[in-house]
Symmetry: C2
Subunit: 463 residues, 2 copies
């Protein structure tokens, strides 16, 4: 199915309908032509700054009438090319829809517009002793997070965005606006259509409102950092923690490469060995101390040479510094280079093996890249980097990437743990899903027969 395009008649109708909310200014088009993946750039034909759900519905009516593609956009922080407009597309900017419609502390829920960022929501929740736990980084919006099923470091304890969205309002390509889900925490009342739109990257509908689940802020928090002789020992420690029902809030792994970058960039002296972080919480200080001792013991049993403990905000910040700064340190060490992050997720017991496989592949290809992992989930990232024009290196990166994905699928994993598919991962979907990919296409054809919703994303071009 070829994608339609935005023509002059359509632009005139859009100007008529939306006036100043529509922009074709060069700088605005530029700002909507890239995401954080940094590999593609393509200007949209126009940008609409939506002022509310009605604008979305009206826009989709014009998109049907004039047959042009619509690409939902908000923070611009997607990592797989989700926001790159196909030729002549309209970029639908939802970042202005920042209304926190309702906070219901007693019901542990909030209703938000799609342009609300998770830090903005958490600032509003703090006075109530509650928080929204999904933390993908950047200033991601709830609409974008729902569209890619984003997660982050706290998913090991609280689940991904998917598990924390109770209800959605979604504008369909055909003009309908549906309410999906309820305010109740669980439901068995008919097909759960929420999940079709969560992770669909704007290809099946446009999310116009979200009802999200909130969690109580833990009263007591502490963290441990362990230095391990090798990645296998660190992965073993992680498995022990997960098996001990310690319910860590976070469980993060970083290889020696990341720590070297931090030491060089910030002048620190962290041990340049595979490092594991665990964050724990408890309903009381004493309960937390018990959990900390047990966790430290598990770290040591698995071979940790050095275990540091942090309590209180300042100490926690220090303990986590290397993990938080790794991405910036690596960027700073290779100024001007392009970074590409993989995002694979495997069953927990396969993680050490897949990371070892990855290390061997990196060595064979002569690539220098770091490994970071949300290890409690089996999710890990390899941060590749090279100058944009260094085609030789980018080719080797491509080959290595493909081998890593093949190994991930061989052990039953997924080609995307949290970043989504966008443009970059489409080529892996047939291998991962087999015939289920055909049903995905049938669902797409049912919901978007004119192919106006973010065409060319998620589903591969196979012919």
């Amino acid at each position: 199915m070829t994608a339609p395009e935005l023509g002059e008649a359509a632009l005139a109708a859009l100007r008529e309908a939306f006036g100043e909310s529509l922009s074709t200014a060069g700088a605005v088009l530029d700002a909507h032509g890239r995401d954080e993946s940094g590999l593609e750039f393509a200007r949209p034909g126009a940008v609409l700054f939506a002022r509310g759900e009605e604008d979305v519905v009206r826009l989709l009516a014009l998109a049907r009438e004039f047959a042009f593609p619509v690409v939902p956009f908000a923070a611009g922080s997607s990592l797989e090319g989700q926001l790159i407009p196909p030729p002549g597309a309209l970029s639908l900017d939802l970042s202005g829809l920042t209304g926190i419609v309702e906070v219901c502390p007693a019901g542990f829920l909030a209703v938000v517009e799609p342009g609300v960022t998770y830090p903005q929501l958490n600032r509003a929740l703090r006075p109530h002793g509650l928080f929204f736990p999904v933390d993908p980084g950047a200033e991601a919006t709830l609409g974008g997070m729902a569209s890619t099923n984003a997660s982050g470091t706290a998913a090991v304890r609280y689940g991904t965005t998917r598990e924390n969205v109770l209800a959605l309002r979604v504008a369909l390509a055909d003009g309908r606006v549906l309410s999906l889900g309820s305010r109740a925490r669980k439901s068995s009342a008919g097909y759960d259509l929420r999940h079709l739109f969560l992770g669909a990257e704007g290809t099946l509908g446009v999310i116009t409102q979200l009802t999200v689940r909130l969690w109580p802020l833990p009263a007591h928090r502490a963290a441990l950092r362990g230095a391990f002789p090798d990645v296998t020992a660190a992965a073993d420690a992680a498995a022990r923690v997960m098996g001990a029902a310690l319910q860590p809030e976070r469980l993060e792994l970083m290889d020696a490469q990341g720590l070297r970058a931090v030491n060089r960039h910030l002048g620190r002296a962290f041990p340049e060995v595979p490092t594991l972080w665990a964050e724990l919480t408890g309903p009381s200080g004493a309960a937390l101390e018990e959990a900390l001792s047990l966790c430290a013991e598990l770290f040591r049993d698995a071979g940790a040479r050095d275990v540091q403990v942090a309590r209180g905000a300042a100490e926690l910040e220090g303990l986590w510094e290397a993990r938080h700064q790794a991405f910036y340190a690596l960027r700073a060490l290779y100024p001007g280079e392009v970074f590409l992050s993989t995002d694979l997720c495997v069953p927990l017991h396969e993680l050490a093996g897949v990371i070892a496989f990855t290390g061997a592949q990196l060595q064979e290809a002569g690539l220098d890249a770091s490994v970071l992992g949300h290890v409690g989930d089996g999710n890990f990232h390899v941060l590749f980097h090279a100058p944009a024009g260094d085609t030789g290196t980018w080719e080797r990166i491509g080959v290595t990437y493909d081998r890593m994905v093949a190994e991930t699928l061989r052990v039953g994993g997924t080609c995307s743990g949290e970043h989504g598919v966008g443009l970059h991962k489409r080529r892996f979907l047939r291998a991962q899903h087999g015939e289920a990919l055909d049903l995905m296409r049938e669902i797409k054809a049912l919901l978007d027969p004119l192919n106006i919703l973010n065409p060319g994303k998620v589903l591969p071009d196979e012919r």
Copy 2:
């Protein structure tokens, strides 16, 4: 769309294909003509005892060819008429598919056939220190639990069946068998089609294999039981527990009526007042004691007059006795009567109000019924009972039930928290879902254009 029927030619072809696995014996047909809801009875035209996925695929080919309906069946414990065959249907009995294909302790996952019951799975997991936490009661099978998105008392901590199924194999009406999901704990790789089939009650496909998520058995466990002056105080205590990040394993409410029944039936002397149970676990004994003290304090703050604590298996059994025996006690007190359980779920802060509304409605209608609740989830049941032929009482029950559902939907809840829709809840789906119900119909037409998969369930007849 009218449902097709099983004719003589179809029966001959079925006998030819399946031999002894096909039965039309009267006792077998009788056993497949009812579920635990007890309101309907209708014999299927035949029963196929499937021996594997190939039988399911072959059966569906014949169902297409001869246009007869197929109703998946396993434990027979559904509560909303899900298993009642439409005229001339074939009942597809999957209860013989009891293979535990794989237990992978290090990956916290198991692969099972759909006829495996959750107690059977948990017996196989115990030696590994793991368990599957969803406990809907009866000897429910994993296939049935997935098909209704069943939950139970532990969903407050571990989620429902939906959150604990990593992957599915599903046989479609058109002959395809799809693998959905992966062995990884999370994924953002395309549309998540698992969730279409979870809770679809066999109307979109037949589940032939499940990969489920396992959890470590908590090392230390204890429980509290509090006696409260009224339901509002007990609901308030539940809200405090949920707000304190205590992460109870269970949080259950029962009204005075249920305790009276237990006392009369078993000769006990439990205080006949609204009662709240909380079960807590911890990574160490000391951590658990801390959590217990805090929870008891929250119970007392909310007005509990008496708080009992139990530690160890025997004490726990005693503490939970009234809750576990309530259903049997009520059945025993009204021998020969038919029981009907509602299954509503509301946001936590609305629970006390909806239960109070329910109490007023019961009183107005002169009905004697008990209220039980998975209160941490906002899920509660009213157990109605009356002699089958007492049409006057059943009419008043019907009116009361409808008013309870209307109030539930008014506060943003759902007409089914865990039992599903089947035949009984279909009439509420338009009010609950609005236009989203039309999209459910479109999905059904896409996946089952001949309407052979459990026709007449979930989706209401509106014309």
